[in-house]
């Protein structure tokens, strides 16, 4: 790791994000949907008098209230960052910092699962068709290519539209998972297929055939270890792409739930409320977080790639 400091930093950041996602109930001061009420604000004011907690805007519907005005709805909105609310509150009066932390779960868990499924399914398909060859390979390869020919986002929109509408909760999560897995499985399958092809004709696979090993032994014991580096690197790459796609879908309002604290969805909510320029402090954190996360994962997968290629396997 000292050979490649960028990959080291990337890996550390990815692990930090994962820790945050795991511990979000412990770290986040509020729930992601808690609206900071006026009473609370008063309480805060008593604890820390003189703090500039009430500069900002209150936006309700299309109406914009000047700062310092009291909201008719009894909550404060658009609070700039302060000691109490580190990143301020958004246009609905929700704590941006808490939403960011809760959002890490939605950002990581679903794409993580999707990447894992894509890699598992894609690797099985790729290794099978790569080793077997022949008709099976021809047909499945052409099918995978047909799927790859459609732009990912278009395919996602079609798949979401084709599903029974109005899904919520667990069914919405499953449908999104399905969409991402369908999009990324062909890519993984093709990568693993070509990695398998490279070792299929190798001397040690021939040697295994010559001593009469079963196909399963050859695929899992002889070929699989050689394909593993490709698999790990591909897994990391798919993870970052899945995060990206998930955030894109969230931004387009096609995510798990339009009100979720998922970062793409958060940006979309601000966009739809028209407050991106009024409360920019509520928009920038998810944007930066997602950029940092994806760059870090890419640095990590780059490091993994180098690690496998140059160090090899020493047991």
């Amino acid at each position: 790791m000292t050979e490649n400091p960028a990959a080291f930093v990337g890996t550390v950041i990815v692990f930090l994000f994962v820790c945050v996602a795991l511990c979000s109930p412990l770290i986040a001061p509020y729930s992601y949907q808690t609206i900071i009420r006026n009473e609370e604000r008063r309480a805060v004011k008593e604890q820390a008098p003189g703090e500039a907690y009430d500069i900002g805007y209150t936006v309700v519907g299309s109406e914009l209230f000047p700062r310092n005005s009291r909201s008719r709805f009894g909550f404060i909105a658009g609070l700039r960052g302060s000691i109490t609310f580190v990143l301020g509150t958004d246009w609905q009066g929700r704590d941006v910092y808490s939403r960011l932390i809760w959002g890490a779960r939605d950002v990581l868990i679903l794409p993580g699962l999707a990447a894992a499924f894509s890699v598992a399914i894609g690797a099985s398909i790729g290794a099978t068709i790569g080793y077997m060859g022949g008709w099976l390979d021809e047909i499945i390869s052409r099918l995978l290519e047909a799927l790859l020919a459609i732009p990912a986002l278009v395919l996602a929109l079609v798949l979401i539209a084709a599903q029974p509408g109005g899904g919520s909760g667990i069914s919405a999560v499953l449908s999104l998972l399905f969409v991402i897995v369908v999009i990324y499985t062909p890519i993984v399958a093709r990568v693993i297929r070509s990695a398998t092809l490279a070792v299929r004709a190798s001397g040690y696979v021939e040697e295994a055939k010559l001593r009469g090993e079963s196909k399963a032994h050859i695929v899992f014991r002889e070929i699989f270890p050689s394909v593993l580096p490709a698999l790990v690197v591909e897994g990391a790459l798919r993870f970052s792409y899945a995060i990206f796609l998930n955030a894109s879908l969230g931004f387009l309002g096609l995510g798990v739930s339009p009100t979720s604290p998922e970062w793409g969805a958060t940006i979309n909510q601000a966009r739809r409320a028209g407050t991106m320029s009024l409360t920019p402090w509520a928009t920038w954190p998810p944007v930066i977080a997602i950029a940092v996360l994806i760059i870090s994962i890419n640095l990590m997968s780059d490091g993994l790639r180098r690690f496998f290629r140059y160090e090899g396997h020493h047991g």
């Binding site: 021809e138 055939k209 009469g212 270890p225 020493h314 047991g315």
Partner: protein, 707 residues
Amino acid sequence: MNEEAVVLSARNVSIDYQIGKRWLNVIHDVSLDLHANRTHGLVGESASGKSTLALALMCYLAENGRITAGTIHYEGRNLLELAANELRQLWGSKMSLVPQNALSALNPSYTIGEQMGEVSRTHLGISRRESGLRAAEMLRSVRIADVENVLRSYPFQLSGGMLQRISIGMALSVAPSLLVLDEPTTALDVTTQAVILDLFRELIDRHDATALYVSHDLGTVAQFCDAVTVLYGGEVMESAPVKELYANPKHPYTQGLLASLPARANAAQEQRIHTIEGVAPSLAHRSPACVFAERCKHAIDRCHAEKPPLEHIGGRQTIRCFRWQEIAQDEATSAANQAAAEPVVRPQIDLPRKNELLTTHELAKKFGKRNALLRWLGKEVIPLHALDRVSITVNKGNTLGIVGESGSGKSTLARVLVALETADSGSIELLGENLSYELSQREPSFMASMRLIPQNPDASLNPYITVGSALERTLKVLAERSKHSENWQQAELSSKHGRWKRVHQLLKAVGLEESYRQRYPNQLSGGEKQRVAIARAFASDPALIIADEPTSSLDVSVQAVVLNLLKDLRETQEVAYIFISHDMDVIRYVADWICVMYLGQIVEEGSNEQLYAAPSHPYTEALFSAIPEPNPLLQKKRIRLEGELPSARNLPGGCPFHTRCPRKIGEICETDIPPIRPAGVGHFIRCHIEVDELSRLQSATEEDLQP
């Protein structure tokens, strides 16, 4: 030009390479002189630093390399003090390089004509038209017949031999005074190599060029060079005029290296090749003692303590050894003692069709048959005839050598025998039982009785499985099923403990220590990997081992060890071999019975002795002639095959060899399939020429050679 003039003189050159964050000293304190109009050979085994040194002498180093000490004087100037643009000027116009792999050295996106033209335009400053003419002229001088066509071709459209001609043409087009040839024929077949080397020799003489010839092949160096420098571990061991070096090697390493050549063992009619014990030094750290001391049988305490200086001993000879004078005396006395020893007689071998172990009858294999999709599209595919009715016999405990160039079908034969490829027709019988073409339908016990040692040990060992596990697994799945062997204790192998005990025995049998069982293949040297592959082949106590060029990726000194090992195992394990090689010297050393293959056919078959005595098939004759004799005083008769190996997709009619045959008699060769003529007991030649006539023709060539 004065014959004695020194063109390039290197003094005390040391070179470091950066690997990771460390600087490794790869060349240490090298001094050598290149004399005008002479060809200087630079020999060494892999990792001896010969290519690095050759390029460094042109002051051409990779980015992670640097010359840390010494001077290189070229025509009076110290190259190390020249600026980058001055060097560039020199490289193009005064010094030229002929690389090992011309295909990767030429740009695939420009035609040969464009690339050759650019060289002469840049360095000779001539016009586009003139440079085109010059390119055509250079191609004609390297004896390319179809010049116009070749100039318009892209590099990947041409054969290896053709590309190597082009690269020397390009190198010579600027009339360089120094030519560096970096293993220029290593990637070529022996018959092509012979033609190319003859051409190089002639061109170098005609251009009065000084050449540095880098090679691992002691045979080509003997025939090609005037002086030789032997490198080992990045240091000069010995440097001498070629005749002196081969006739009277002084350094123990040179002596060991020459003795490890199968040709030398054959000439001396010895049963074993001399070997150098131990392994080549790692470049990781530079030993403060003699680099060869660890493997030197003459080493004394002093050799392990301090580094001998590179000593000039007169007559353009240098040597780096404390004891060379004493060693010369020792050798003289031991040679006198040995002269009294009885010459070893080859044991009487069985004649064929007796005591048969494996026989094939008219085995045939074509590649590129139409697949379903192409058939559906109505596309014709011309099949490639890899094996054309091949019948061979291997007797118990004997070695059948199969020799031929690449493309002769010898590897396909091996793969068809073990069923990695499916034969089209013919029969394979092992121990009297007919074997299926399909691997999946073969009896496991037959798979255990016939094992393969592949050509490339790097590829045949799984990088993620330890040596021990690989052997243990082989024992588990194969040895248990073997029914061939009588001395096999099945009970012993049914337990894991018993198998591991056997793994240790196997490792010991191939000369590896027990601790090797925990190693991964990347922790082994090339020779050690091949030993593991041999141990794996022997694990099931087979009756027949098919060795497909088992030593062609190894250095000569390692090859000697592996050949001896295979020979020893044949005695102790009572196994028969099919030994496939392109190297006539190796085949002569190992084989009892030899088949010569050309384009999928056996053109000649006979015992070792029969084949090496006239008469023989014209192709066999050419193969013999193509192997350079590792002795500058001896020259083989010169039979050269012009032209390329015909494509096996489009086999020539009649005798397949007629397109290149130097003894073609007429139309009959093109139209009629040649008869199989008996030339002795079990000796067959497939040729239109009568055996007596062949014999007369060949002895006539022999006489021409006499001065």
